[in-house]
């Protein structure tokens, strides 16, 4: 199979304009005849649903949450990038494009990233007109903050709740359309499978999480906006319900899964405190502006931090990266923390933590200033750990945060299954091997508000007169299969709770496919995952029935998919024999221990195609052509 990215001709600055000038349009009268299924109501799904409904399509939207507003996008804190250059500090579409490509360690598709940068400004306009209360200056102008990986201030924010406010904006636009009867909203509905008719995505199977009813829904095209798969690690900063199910089922129906091993690990999270823990909490990266990261020089030093004298502390980031110091990029800071902990110098329970020490800043600036800057974060830390960071250093540790990989899509956001479009974190498109802060929100909204409304016509214009209905045998068949899957889970009747398997899977993946990966480790992980999967299908306990709210059943379905997906992730990591961005293969590092890319061999997208349950997946490559930028090595020394 050859992956055709359908990138428009012409210089990079002209591609999107020329695409729009030549795009296939659907007349208003015909739009009314097309039905679109949108799965997911995060930034990507809500914005797409609302915009397509405004255009006149019949939209049916699904989410597993009890309200569209609860999608995981709500949790994003920091901000959203846009090349508005309101600060007059030299920002431009080109710079945002270049920063994103470079931040992604030169593993993203140029044309997509340029388009993202191009529409970024429109997103802010849109959000402001929906009433998103972005932070402002006293004079009333919008204000910006700077964020990792950029030398300009281009990040718009709404307190520490930017994702919430952007999502509520999109949710309100969606709500307006639901109120007008143009969108039919299905909450508490989990997509279990994708229905193909003649090889085209034409519907989905869902389970109503409250009644247990399994049903099919038909449409002319399906949009998956179901977010990322960080929860394959069990512990992550993602919400508990975030899952890979929708994209994984699509993969098993023929959609290529691209770069699954590209995951992002955020350096400043509250460390794991015990095995009861259900979730990790992110502490804003901004803390590194005033905190110094250190561990004891001595292994297993059990003294309290205040009892360890200055000369026995190792400020390892300052030591290793004198020019960037504590502000080294996310992947580097995370990896360094892992190294010192692996050496046995970690602090706190289990030795999995490093200190983030504010005492120097408190001495220099006074506690009041620190309180003003980070008061709410210190409070959050105190609430969770019971410790005061004013009195003793915070303990932090990296945690999984975002997944760059996802279903492969072309320039039109269509996957390898005709009619199946994928938006937001669920696709692989824009962030390469590492995502810059504040650009996931930008991508989700760009996909939903501005890209898909323009690109959907390319597919739909080929679908006139090809009506499908849920009475077709294809729907019945897929529904039967989905039902059988649920019944198979219920029939196991073991006595081990689902969480147990999920936690074990997470440990395997975290150890072997986390911050540092090796051939031997990945091979071991693949074997371990297979064994765990087998145990799962023999021992998982799911009390209750399928005809009611059954949270064990919901989780079991998701974990069953993670148990399959985790293997693909390790296979991808094993195959990509280089280090880039969030993917660090210990065999491929510079003498100083930095990531070593092999552009000659690996400047390509790895897309995996399902070949049947017991066969190895097929690898299909999409070469990445860098016409506008030159490949360079990142250095933060």
């Amino acid at each position: 199979m050859i992956l055709d990215a359908k990138i428009p001709e012409g210089p990079i600055e002209k591609k999107w304009t020329s695409f729009k000038n030549n795009a296939k349009l659907i007349s208003p009268a015909n739009k009314r005849k097309f039905k679109v299924i949108v799965v997911g109501t995060g930034l990507a799904g809500s914005s797409a649903s609302a915009t397509l409904a405004e255009l006149g399509y019949q939209v049916e939207t699904f989410c597993f949450h009890d309200s569209a507003r609860r999608a995981h996008s709500i949790a994003a804190q920091g901000g959203i990038n846009a090349a508005k250059n309101y600060q007059n500090d030299g920002d431009s579409v080109w710079r945002l494009f270049y920063d994103t490509i470079k931040g992604g360690d030169f593993r993203a598709r140029e044309a997509n990233v340029y388009r993202l940068a191009e529409v970024s400004g429109n997103i802010i306009d849109e959000c402001v007109s929906q009433g998103v209360p972005f932070a402002r200056e006293y004079g009333g102008e919008l204000t910006n903050r700077s964020f990792g990986g950029a030398q300009v201030s281009r990040t718009f924010y709404a307190k520490g709740q930017t994702g919430q406010q952007l999502l509520l904006g999109a949710y309100s636009a969606l709500s307006a359309q639901i109120g007008l009867g143009r969108v039919t909203m299905h909450e508490s509905s989990e997509m279990l499978d994708l229905v193909l008719v003649d090889g085209h995505a034409k519907g989905i199977v869902t389970r109503d999480l409250i009644t247990g009813e399994i049903k099919t829904h038909a449409a002319d095209t399906v949009l998956l906006c179901t977010g990322g798969y960080s929860n394959v690690y069990y512990l992550s900063t993602n919400a508990r319900g975030s899952n890979v199910t929708a994209t994984w089922r699509a993969y098993k129906r023929g959609a290529a899964f691209a770069n699954p091993c590209y995951t992002q690990i955020h350096p400043t999270c509250i460390p794991v405190a015990g095995d009861y823990q259900s979730k990790l909490t992110l502490m804003s990266e901004s803390l590194r502006n005033d905190g110094r990261v250190w561990v004891p020089k001595q292994k297993g030093d059990a003294r309290l931090p205040q009892d360890i004298p200055e000369e026995e502390r190792d400020y390892y980031l300052e030591r290793k990266y004198p020019s960037y110091g504590n502000l080294a990029p996310r992947d580097i800071a995370s990896r360094s923390a892992k190294e010192v902990c692996d050496e046995g110098r970690g602090v706190g329970p289990g030795g999995l933590g490093v200190y983030l020490d504010f005492s120097a800043s408190i001495d220099r600036l006074g506690e009041k200033t620190i309180r003003e800057r980070y008061g709410n974060l210190f409070e959050m830390y105190h609430n969770i750990t019971g410790e005061s960071a004013y009195e003793r250093p915070m303990r932090i540790y990296p945690a999984v945060h975002y997944t760059m990989g996802g279903l492969w899509v072309d320039y039109n956001l269509m996957s390898t299954i005709p009619g199946l479009h994928v938006l937001g974190e669920a696709n692989f498109s824009d962030h390469g091997a590492n995502r810059l802060g504040a650009s996931a929100l930008m991508q989700g909204l760009s996909d939903g508000y501005f890209v898909i409304p323009n690109t959907l016509g390319e597919y739909l214009s080929t679908q006139f007169g090809k009506k499908v209905s849920t009475d077709m045998p294809e729907f019945k068949k897929t529904e039967t299969e989905a039902r059988a899957h649920v019944e198979k889970l219920l029939a196991v009747k073991g006595n081990v709770p689902v969480d147990e398997f999920h936690r074990q899977l997470g440990l395997i993946i975290w150890d072997e496919c986390g911050m540092a990966r090796s051939e031997a480790g990945l091979k071991k992980a693949i074997a371990d995952i297979r064994a765990l999967r087998e145990r799962f299908w023999k021992e998982v306990a799911i009390p209750g029935t399928g005809a009611e709210l059954n949270q064990s059943l919901e989780r079991a379905g998701r974990v069953a998919d993670f148990l399959e997906f985790g293997e693909l992730m390790c296979i991808d990591a094993l195959t990509r024999e280089e280090s880039c961005g969030g993917h660090f293969r210990i065999e491929h590092q510079t003498p100083e221990g930095e990531a070593l890319r092999h552009d000659d061999k690996f400047a390509e997208v790895y897309a995996w195609m399902f070949q049947g349950q017991n066969n190895d997946p097929e690898l299909v490559r999409e070469p990445l052509h860098y016409e506008a930028v030159h490949l360079a090595t990142r250095s933060y020394k």
Binding site: H65, G131, R240, P543
Partner: protein
Amino acid sequence: MSTMNFHLRLWKQKSATDKGEFIKIHATEIPSECSFLEMLDIVNNRLTREGKEPVSFASDCREGICGTCHMVINGVPQGPGRGAACQVYMRKFENGQTITVEPFRVGAFPIVKDLVVNRSAYDRIIRSGGFISEHTGGAPDASTSLIPKPVADAAMDAAACIGCGACAAACPNSSPMLFVGAKVTHLGLLPQGQAERKSRARNMVRTMQEEGFGNCSNYYACEAVCPANVPASVIAMLNREYIRGEVSEAVGAID
């Protein structure tokens, strides 16, 4: 790491029409560092191992922002302290304490199962007016209207509502005025929200009534439990906006 023991009374109810009851569980060896929901996870996993049905409760982000979790802990919607139920930690309780957990008791939030209720009435309130009608692509440049910082900040404070429903659960009258007021205030303060200012309050209040919620008696219990710190002054704003909306509709005023 120290552990604690608790006497739990957890509400079990199969469905909206079923009669529910408390089940008593002696939860032993609970790590003192864990959160309230993690404690429930532990209890549920133990029940599962014993072949019993766990107690259903909702949660997602577990960091207080998504509004999914909802329960009443010892008579307090969303539990002791500020924040949502997922931000309650066991060290806030005494070792050996009896803890009663029951669902939100609001007629307009029918019980789904155990501690889970259906809060879709809040979505329907938003659908009836909690938005600015605009369409993608039609927006002017974001810098077109200047919004003084205090106004933007006040709009943000109101917009911080996480839609959890604790306000109606805490209110002795089951009134959702804090939630409705938060949205009306957020959009009513911003220049973008002016066009629909009057119809918004009118329509949202009508839906609120149709859904069967109670009326506000200015008790302020809602404000006391709101995990997002939405101030009750948003209710005053709603009272004002609503009357203005009705009066101008009644007299046919354009503005």
